[in-house]
Structures are given as structure tokens and as C-alpha cells.
């Protein structure tokens, strides 16, 4: 990673934040940048719901197995611990066993050797966590940890900014909106997967590319697809 790359990513994020933007798309891009900048294989972002449980809202890859692995941590794992303590949690080598037998087994099965979780903090509250997986054992060095935390902070700022733009009264409403948007996107993935006989991960790529090329907000296009008012043909 070069300083130029790093600067580019933060410029890209800042550019997004000045305008109206789709919060799920923003968080999705952020997880992709985590993978590029932090030299990890996969990144996911979990937010708290009004039941105080963590739910996945964005991931660098939409592979079902990966989403399950992120979601599994709503019960046990580094993300939950990070969420409850507000502190980063890092496991440099999952094969050394440890505190979360069920999570460790599934992570190893998926081919991951190291896992890290960084808190999304807002003043005294923790509103979620960024979750990173590596296929090679190893800790995040001090520099990567700082960059990772900066990216997690940008994710928090993105949520707050959306709240301000959309004139939502409270963070609770904004979090709920983000979670509902994510459900909406899953429904649209299902529609596209069935219509075009695609894998759900490919259906997400189709949806996102469709939103980009049409300059549409991801969640608006997803709503139109679920409502059947837009078909999103595969060949333009």
C-alpha cells in the first residue's frame, strides 16, 4: 500500500459524503477498500439493531458462506467481544484455538487463519464493528490497525451524515433504516437470482452494476426490482 492509495481512498470517501448517497453502497465500498488497504481477504460491517444485536449490513464479498460467517458472530466471536468492550479484538492465529470454538471451526473451514474486529464508536456508544479476515496467520501491525480504525470511523461518520442529510431525528432511526435497506437488497438479489438463474452473489453484482450505470441509488433500484416496476435486463 502506498500513501497515494491511502489518500485516494479517503478522498473517495469524502467525495461521497458531501452529496446524498446510498448508505449500503457506501458501506459496501468501504469494506472493499478495507480489503485493498489492509491486506486482508474479506471484510464485513455489522451494525447494532434496536434489540442490541449485531447484523451484517455490508461485506466485501457477497458469498453466502462469508455472510454466514460474519453473521455467526452475533452469537460468539471477536465481533461480539469488540462490540461489547468497545476495544479492537485481534486473533493472529485461529488455529491456536481459544474462546470461540464454534466460530473458530467455521472460520477455519472457510479457509481463514486470522481475524480482527474494530469498533465503530460514537462518543460513549458502540454502534457496530468492522470485521476483517485473513487467509494467512498474522497480526495487524500498528499502521494497519490505525488505518483500519480510521476506516471504521469513516463508516460511523457516513451513517451520521446520512442521518443529517435525510433529517432523521435519531441514530436509532438511521441504524434501523440501514438494516431495512439491507433486507430490501437481499430481496432484490433473490428476484434477480431467480429471474436470471444466478447465484445470489452474482445477483448482487448485477444489482450494483445496474445502479452504478444508471446512476441510481442502490436501495431505490432494489425497491423497484422487488416491486416489479423495473426488470434490470442483463444486456443493456
Amino acid at each position: 500500500m502506498t500513501d497515494v492509495q491511502l489518500a485516494d481512498v479517503f478522498v473517495e470517501m469524502a467525495d461521497t459524503l458531501v452529496d446524498d448517497f446510498d448508505v449500503i453502497d457506501f458501506l459496501h465500498v468501504l469494506t472493499e477498500r478495507c480489503v485493498q488497504l489492509l491486506d486482508v481477504s474479506a471484510a464485513g460491517l455489522l451494525l447494532t439493531d434496536q434489540h442490541n444485536a449485531l447484523q451484517v449490513v455490508a461485506a466485501s464479498s457477497e458469498r453466502t458462506r462469508l455472510l454466514e460467517l460474519f453473521q455467526l458472530q452475533t452469537d460468539e466471536g471477536p465481533c461480539v467481544d469488540c462490540f461489547h468492550t468497545g476495544q479492537p479484538v485481534s486473533v493472529a492465529d485461529l488455529s491456536s484455538g481459544g474462546r470461540w470454538p464454534r466460530f473458530t471451526a467455521v472460520a477455519a473451514e472457510a479457509g481463514f487463519a486470522a481475524v480482527h474486529a474494530l469498533p465503530m464508536r460514537l462518543r460513549a456508544d458502540v454502534i457496530g464493528a468492522v470485521n476483517l479476515f485473513g487467509t494467512q496467520p498474522g497480526a495487524l501491525d500498528g499502521e494497519k490497525l490505525r488505518i483500519g480504525q480510521a476506516l471504521a470511523d469513516v463508516a460511523t461518520i457516513g451513517l451520521l451524515q446520512q442521518r443529517a442529510i435525510r433529517q432523521r431525528d435519531t441514530l436509532t432511526e438511521q441504524l434501523q433504516h440501514a438494516l431495512n435497506s439491507r433486507i430490501l437488497i437481499e430481496q432484490a438479489k433473490g428476484v434477480l437470482a431467480e429471474r436470471y438463474h444466478l447465484d445470489v452473489a452474482d445477483a448482487f453484482a448485477l444489482l450494483r452494476d445496474g445502479a452504478r450505470s444508471r446512476k441510481r441509488r442502490l436501495s431505490e433500484l432494489a425497491q423497484a426490482i422487488v416491486d416489479g416496476t423495473e426488470l434490470l435486463p442483463r444486456t443493456p
Binding site: Q50, Q55, V56, T64, T170, N180, Q187, L192, A193
Partner: protein, 236 residues
Amino acid sequence: MDADRRVRLMHEVVALAGGRPVAVEHVCAAVLPAVGVDGLAISVILAATPPETIYTTDQVAADLAELSITLGEGPCVDAAAGLPVFAADLGAAAVTARWPIFAPEAVRAGAGAVFALPLQVGAIRFAVMALYRGTPGRLDNGQLADALVLADTACAVLLDATVPPGRWTEHPDMRHPEIHQATGMLIIQLGVPAAAALTRLRAHAYANDRRLRDVAADVVARRLRFEPDDPQLMDR
């Protein structure tokens, strides 16, 4: 947000049901003390049919629901777009400017504040829960969180109108993305709107005594297909 919120509210709802199957009126009865409002109404808003108020606690709530439907404006109408809409002081200039006909009529009907919450699962927006206070005043954070949890509960109960007594299901959230992907797939398989697709998925799970998430996983893995069984189609 406290982790016990959901459990505490569930206990209250179940206690109000007094051994009978939990119905929407029990959820509504729990809303009043928890959220500190004087009454509420639930109106179903489906694209194919005119809005219909299915539950009201009192005459003021009924009048407010009636006003929203006949005037076509107000917080409930706006909340149907998918976001909570709050008018903490119906006499405030900004509120009157936003809903010039509804606001004064609502005050005349006896309301000081209205809080409208959409009942939704992703793209499925099927009802609005409208809470009112006789005097103006904002919801505090605890009241808002309680309102959101109970709105989710009402949502689950309404979706489960056909569930046998004694069964209790969760609000479908992102813990099981396959439920929403399968809903999307059923929209195409059955040629029905999203709300009907989710209902069919749930009905199949109950009828076969299986967990919703397991049925959904079978649909996503294409081990299970649904066929349209509309009698009109079969008669052809």
C-alpha cells in the same frame, strides 16, 4: 439501548395476552404504557387495495387514521414511504406548513403529537402504526426504542395471522439473509407481490413444521420450488 429491552417487552405482551395466542391488540396494549402515548391505530397499506384501518385503541386514534386516509396527507401517509415520521407538536408552524390540512384537523380531533412508524420487512411495507399523544411532546430515546421493538413485534404478528396458537416467531431480520433472498425468488416463482411471497414461505414452514430459515435455505439452494396454485390458474 439495553439488551433486556426486547425480553422485557415480550414478557409484557405475553402477559397482556393472558394465555391466549398473542394478537395485534396485545402488542398495541403494550405500546401505550411503554412508549407513553395515549392511543394508536394500525392501517394496512397495500398497493392493490385502498388503505384500511385494522386496529384502533380509541376514537381519537380512529379519527386520525380516518383523516390521513381521506385527506391523503399527514405523518401516516409519509411514513408509508418507509421511514418513521414524527410530529411532536402538531401546532408548530413547521408541522402546519408540511401538512396544512391534516395538522389543524388532527388538533381538532384531540391530538397534540403524532408518531407514525412503518411496519415493514425490506421492500414489503404493508402497514403504518400511528401513535398519538393528547399533548405535544417528543419521544425520548428509550420510548423510541420501545416503539421500534413493538412495531417489529406487531409486524411479525400481522404476518403470522394464520399461525396456530402457541407458536411465536421472530421478526425476520438480517440474521438470516436467506429468508429475504427466498422471498425474492418466490416473487418470480409464484408471480406474486413480495408480501404474499413471504406469507407463502412462512405458511410452508408452519405447515411442514420446519424453521423458516431452513425452508428459505432450501429455496435459495434450489432444492425446493414453489408452484403457483391460484385456483383461477388451475381452472384454465
